[in-house]
Symmetry: C2
Subunit: 462 residues, 2 copies
Amino acid sequence: MTERLVVIGGDAAGLSAASQARNRRGPDDLRIVALEKSGHASYSACGIPYLVGGEVADVEDLVARRPEVFRDELAIDLRLRNEVVEIDLDRRAVTVLDHRDGGRYREPFDQLVVATGALPHRPDLPGAQAEGVYGVQTLDDGVALLRAVESARPRDAVVVGGGYIGLEMAEALVRRGLRVSLVDAGEQPMGTLDPDMGALVAEALRDLGIELFLGEGVEGFSESGGRVTAARAGSREVPADLVVLGLGNRPNTALAAAAGIPVGETSGIRTDRRMRTPVEGVWAAGDCVETFHLVSRRPVAIALGTHANKQGRAAGINIGGGYAAFPGVVGTAISKICEYEVARTGLTTAEAAEAGFETVEEIVESSTRAGYYPGARRMKTKVIAECGTGRLLGAQIVGKEGAAKRIDALALAVWHGMTVEDMTGLDLAYAPPFAPVWDPVLIAARKAAERVERLRGGRAGG
Amino acid sequence: MTERLVVIGGDAAGLSAASQARNRRGPDDLRIVALEKSGHASYSACGIPYLVGGEVADVEDLVARRPEVFRDELAIDLRLRNEVVEIDLDRRAVTVLDHRDGGRYREPFDQLVVATGALPHRPDLPGAQAEGVYGVQTLDDGVALLRAVESARPRDAVVVGGGYIGLEMAEALVRRGLRVSLVDAGEQPMGTLDPDMGALVAEALRDLGIELFLGEGVEGFSESGGRVTAARAGSREVPADLVVLGLGNRPNTALAAAAGIPVGETSGIRTDRRMRTPVEGVWAAGDCVETFHLVSRRPVAIALGTHANKQGRAAGINIGGGYAAFPGVVGTAISKICEYEVARTGLTTAEAAEAGFETVEEIVESSTRAGYYPGARRMKTKVIAECGTGRLLGAQIVGKEGAAKRIDALALAVWHGMTVEDMTGLDLAYAPPFAPVWDPVLIAARKAAERVERLRGGRAGG
């Protein structure tokens, strides 16, 4: 008897799940239907800023695998522009709206993967529907923005929101020669960093000629003849031929919630380590789920392609009869804006306090290579450790080329609950073109260990 | 009563120890004399290839701290060209030969740090004393070679030994416009990698126009009028106006051994985690010691500046009355030759077999950035896991810009004894300018996990 798997969402999570399930179970054993409401599947949403900025020449470059590949090579019945509008858990079927002809049909399932992604925050601001105001969530958004940049020859752009997407879009628009302003309600841009490190990002942005309007959110947009002319923040009017909304997103779970699939406190779908929801035979993966933060030990919802892929892989292996788990996250993220690089892992000072930790912090300036080696760049590393134990809770890096990917070593140290003193002994790679003799990661750990020690008043440390 | 600390060796290990001890104990409490036989102290030996290659303009750039700094700011009595010729453990004193005037004197100690470094392998080959044959161990060697390259206008260079130093010197000579040949007795260059990865290094070297003579060691040098004219390897004469010997080195322990300080099976001085030798009040650190390999659980002697610094720091903190340990190594190393990058950590296949492991291996080709992002470079990653358990034992990387420093994440995974399946869940940083959505480290781990699983014949894995 052929089992029926329905996957809602044809992107990283959904199609990873489908592919992994197929790897382990042939078409006679498992029929797979993947339903994607948009006209695109399996694309890199993270690549949109580089499409807009011109580093990526062709929208097709962002497509990881063509739809035919799923049908022809993997026997996955991927249906584009087919939107699931209802999940009926009692009858084990979804209702699908086919946008190509407007028809509706029911698709029965034995197993279901919910991979409905995230929804961008689009606050209901006056003027937000004006022409020239763009989101950057989907490939269609990206293509629309690209056309605007290339054809309408805008001069002034306002990016609303100074998170990762906001910064990457700001870079894209700077590269296109626009005058770019960034509006963010926070004290500093990049609110996922501590303000002391966010201030370094602000400095970098000003360095790139981006004007910053911080500490006040956008209240609306002025328009003329249906076209946006300015963004209003506080008492200011910031001129804009073009507005990009990068205000983050939240799990897209209306469909799941309406069906009675439990949603957690973060508004993401709840799953266990194997990506099972509490409903028998129903799995979820990707931006629509909440996951477990290994340091705060709390649920979090973090929309990120790499998590989506891993969660989809785990779900697919499990559906295929194997065993795989997604253990949770430590909150690692990285971004580039022109020659600046920004990264974080673990908890920020504020997040650590919220999770009940008392912390010790250290910010260290060091160099990406041996100081005498050409191309050495300055970088600042912040480490946050638990008082008393000295356990590494989080780290942040702001620097130039070669700085930020060092966050991976710190992410592993956080993952394993290492103390900063233990970290000073780590066998990290050293040669002058790659690091000073004390890698910046080790310098930061060493300085933090010294501070932990001074606070402890004891004899250990440096 | 002022305690007397004598440090033998004025480089990374010795002066780190001296500085850390001084940090914790003032001059009235601890008198510190550091004795250095050469005319230079506190310099980066690892920087010599870049001095010769011209990336580093001035020999002074390689000096981390001027001798005056130690005397004036740290109250460390650093004496250059003062060579310790004997250690008298019974009378607690060293005999010093002052090369400035040829005089000898005794310097008493309560605590002693032996940091005598490494000695280059200089096989006693016919012609090895000819003009034009250079070692690259000390800054004086480096300066002599630099003068030869700049003034004598050599055209053909032979590098003997294809390890890290050999490759870095080959790059330096290529940059100086010489025709470079590399002679190595091994099947492939970079014998610290497995031959399958070494073959990629060979390819890279040929790509750079370097001629390789593999599988036969150098048997001697031809000379004319006292100047080298060729290196003899097997039946070949490889023309050479200039020869660089990069045959590795061994712990320099004659002085310590003569005094009765125990030397281990690797010929390095034995110490515990706190860098104490078995002799009361005698410490050792740096290239002259043997350390503990955390995977093979065997003693190893690895000459590397970053270990020397950490070991010296630990010794100094302990002498200062604090507590610090050097826990051992996992064998991480990294090197760059022109646009190629090479790195390793943990055990190679051969080392793993020797240590009693049965292994599973996987070599994965991937990309340093998202495939569509400009500047993405191909890289190959090899992972070696234990059969059955799937524990990561080692990894090697050969690639281009942005590839090799990823070894740090793998080094941490080895350090913590992670399985390759566990690694697939690691929260490494992802954004298109820094990595594909599955980081090369994760792809390699995933493929290895699948292989472990297939061999196990079970249901887990991908």
